[in-house]
């Protein structure tokens, strides 16, 4: 049998065998059998040396042709086997997820606010939770005899001095004078954090909750500046243009003091359940920094003015996720936490 004939026979046999192939493993075995380093085609090629010199180029060409043909045939079969296999995957099965952790919803929103304020050039400050009467009340223009002390029921701590008792801060405003003492003016800062009120708990009250305080002090800061800044900030948080309104509000450390309401985003001011039919949502207590507070912070109120604002972070979280019971926030209930 000539080499020529042997090649033909090999080609025919390989192509017949290929038709029987159903999976990649047997395909691979077949490939080794015919096209492998020690396969049948290789042994034919080894015989080329024994052929007469003048016949070699033609035969060599033929061998290569057969080789290429088989390669393509193998490839084609390989592809069709691949297709058949991929049809066996159920693409609708759920993906296998990496382990998932959950950021606490309070921290989720706090992070968002911090980022927003940082982008507006505000420092983010962290203050002590156990405070002195001086920073929590007195330096905020709330002397001992002031009726406003009753506005915030306070947890007192044993220890401290009788004229400057220790307490758990009732508001993040307690950082105002600390910030002024440390950084002076001009100042742009926010203070997020845990605050405490001595009160009974129910679905909408907890003795521990989160606030975010903001303070801006510079030359010639005005009410118009306060409104402008609040509008930008709220639009950033709610990712849309918001309408706000100011109305009188009382906080001893600002003068004048305001309550800032945001037009209800659910009903657009028409009145609905979430705004208790008023069309507005009470969101932020704010005002121009009281001259006494500037003085306590070591600044001259004739030279500087500023505004301060405080918002209930816990309330914002509850609004955002429609959480109906504030106590869930510190419950540690994983069924709650794992939803965030």
């Amino acid at each position: 049998m000539s080499l020529h004939q042997e090649l033909d026979k090999l080609r025919g046999k390989a192509l017949t065998d290929l038709k029987q192939i159903k999976d990649q493993d047997s395909l691979m075995a077949l490939r080794i059998k015919y096209l492998g380093r020690k396969g049948e085609l290789a042994s034919i090629m080894a015989l080329l040396k024994q052929v007469a010199k003048e016949e070699r180029p033609q035969l060599g060409k033929l061998v290569n042709q057969v080789k290429r043909e088989l390669e393509i045939a193998f490839l084609r079969v390989s592809k069709t086997i691949g297709d058949r296999k991929s049809q066996g995957i159920d693409f609708t099965l759920p993906g296998i997820k990496p382990p998932i952790g959950h950021l606490h919803p309070l921290m989720r929103v706090q992070r968002e606010l911090e980022d927003l304020f940082r982008s507006m050039g505000f420092m983010v400050l962290d203050g002590p939770e156990l405070e002195s009467e001086y920073y929590n009340f007195e330096s905020l223009n709330i002397p001992i005899w002031h009726p406003a002390r009753d506005m915030q029921d306070t947890f007192y701590i044993k220890g401290g001095k009788p004229d400057n008792r220790w307490l758990l801060r009732t508001h993040t405003s307690a950082m105002q004078v600390r910030a002024l003492e440390k950084y002076g003016a001009p100042l742009r800062a926010v203070v997020p954090g845990r605050v405490f009120r001595y009160e009974a708990t129910d679905a909408s009250h907890d003795h521990t909750f989160w606030q975010l305080e903001g303070l801006v002090v510079d030359k010639d800061i005005s009410i118009a500046n306060l409104i402008g800044t609040m509008k930008v900030f709220l639009s950033g948080i709610f990712q849309r243009e918001v309408e706000v309104r100011l109305r009188p509000g009382y906080f001893p450390f600002v003068e004048p003091g305001f309550e800032l309401d945001m037009k209800c985003l659910v009903c657009n001011g028409l009145g609905c359940r979430s705004c208790k039919q008023s069309g507005w949502i009470e969101l932020i207590g704010c005002g121009l920094v009281h001259p006494r507070v500037l003085e306590f912070g070591g600044l001259n109120p004739k030279e500087y003015s500023g505004f301060a604002f405080g918002l209930g972070l816990s309330r914002l979280v509850m609004m955002r996720y429609k959480i109906d019971d504030i106590r869930l926030l510190l419950s540690g209930d994983l069924r709650f936490l794992e939803q965030f």
Binding site: A148, P186, D218, I223, L246, R247, G332
Partner: protein, 755 residues
Amino acid sequence: MKISYNILKNFVEPPHVFSAKELAEVLTMHTVEVDEAVDLKEKLRGVVVGVVTAIKPHPKADKLKLATVDIGKKNLEVVCGGVNLQEGMKVALAQVGTQVRWHGETNWTSLEKTTIRGVESAGMICAAEELEIYDPQAVKYGIMDLSDNEAEPGTPLSQALGLDDIILNIDNKSITHRPDLWGHFGLARELSAIWQKPLKNPENIPIQNSRDIKLQVKIAEPDYCQRYLGIVLAGLRIFPSPLWLQRKLLSLGMRPINNIVDVTNYVMLEYGQPLHAFDLAKLVSPEIMVRLVKRGEKIITIDGVERKLDQSMLVIADNKQPQAIAGVMGGIASEVNDNTEAVIIESATFNAISTRQTASRLGLRTEASARFEKGLDPELAYLAIRRAVELICQIMPEAKIASQLVDEYPRVAKKIIIDLNLSWLEKRLGCQIPEGEVMNILQRLGFGVAGSSPNIKVTVPSWRAGGDITRPEDLIEEVARIYGYHKILPVLPKFVITPPPKDKEQELRWRIRELLIGAGWTETLSYSFVSGENEKLLRLENPVDKTKPYLRQNLISSMAEQFESAQKAGRESIKMFELGRVFLPSSGKMLAAGNSKEYLPDQPWHLLLAIYDKKAPVFRILKGVVEFIEQQTGTSFKPKYEQLNGGWLAEIELEGVETIDTVKYNPLPKFPAVIRDLSLIIPQGVLWSEIFAEISKISPLIENIQVFDVYEERGSISFSIVFRSAERTLASSEVEAVMDDIVKSLQDKFKASIR
């Protein structure tokens, strides 16, 4: 505080008819926060006065009757079970559609046409209680009897009873700084400024004097009592007040008592000036002493409680003993009772701070002390006593004035005059208000304005001079709130662009959160309050939960509960963490005041990791995650590991932890590594750290040793040893020689055997 629109209208005429919502809005936008505005008329819509013209028995029920009720335009057939139903009786008839509250129910429902035991009823004859109306003559299981009322059938009940009113509920916190707004008169004064309508000042008819009784008042402590007015009224007969007065008090949230006490309370609600009436016969003599408490004095107050007084407290005394705690509460001894014939009416101005201190020391907060502690206007005291005398004489014509009006006014306050620069005002507002308008607003609010632009002199009216308005900043609000905040357009402040400085500790905490969440851990937050008996813990003076009076010193103590309840809930795998402050008795770095040398207790931030898993080697996972954070953040922690209920916890202090960027690039190795695995059975008590140390020192060619399998129960451990040289490719014979050394040394030293 509740406010009646009708009483407001006695003092100021509204420019048009206001709905409850509009009225609330006007006050909220310009003056105070209105929590709720209830239109009584709306609440009673559909309820009319009717006359029962005929009564028939109900064919199927003994206790029910069929009444024909004339409601003016028509007659209605109504089923009624009231025990006092009579022919000719005037009744309150709720027509279909009215909101009613059934006996014993808490919710309001809309009345529908119903069939009661087979007979159709076109409405309901109501009991007062079902409409939330006070009725002193109410009969049990009876209906409201309106026979005394003159109203024609068909008249709306709200009109017939004078309940045609809007009741506003003012948020008291929003008037903490406004002593002038603790009564209707003050709010009417605000509305007169807003509406630009004149305030109807009460007619200043002088009180007639009498010399029957010589009333004397001595103020021993003018610092504590700025003004004291007193007058004697005699010929009194003590009865329940007329119904209109009782209803008015009830709708404003006060319980009627008797005609004298009711008048003093009503005038307080009208004017915001607390009054007191002493039974003259119970005093030693008509001599009033306003003085401090003498050592050992006590008083039984009208609530029946005996109260020990201290010498800082102001009392109103006769010649023998205290008869009232000034500005707080009267004594039971001289309380007005059914036999009282003559009273001294007191209208005084007590010092705000001392009243507040006394009330808080006694733990006795009253309507009176809440007002005095804000700092009342002494001028108000006169208006109020005049009104009280007028009202008593009006409802009890036999009453007569029996003394002079005594007016001790030792300290007339100086006028407060503020220099206001109008261009400064404009800067603070951030908008321009015409000068004329600024002056006009101030004048409407009762301020005196003198001088010319830009520097004007503003005189503060007496009712705002109690500390409320003392400096120009206080005037910004006055102008702006009447002008309207909505007219101030937003302007962004001009800032220098500077990136805010960063706080490394805060950044570390955010980074830790990110890493842990990426690694499958869930963040929790727990309360700062814990139980325990550790005397070293900081302790609350007034815990809400008496079983948890301490502040947490570590996060384990506060988070353990959450961890345990997650386990109890049947969780097979828990990975929780908390970042929070803990509280230590030692001093920290924060000063207690800017000029003090005292430091607040240390309050470092801690991180707590808590893990539980029925199947996995939790300690190694925990240790692994701690090492992972350390490596990723460039920190080095001192974790405290602790076992809890089969789970493991790691508590880490973050205060003062340094973050160093430890990422270091090493040139890639030029020569390949050779890796050999080894599985050992090691006797109990031998630690991995010892094996590791032993292997490490055998050859400098050892680059790394990594554990990949551990069966602790069997004492089996498997690991890979990586060999590499920086100068050449290692021959396998070289590595085998080292491996032999390693095996031999482990066998000799630890009695380890190859598996």
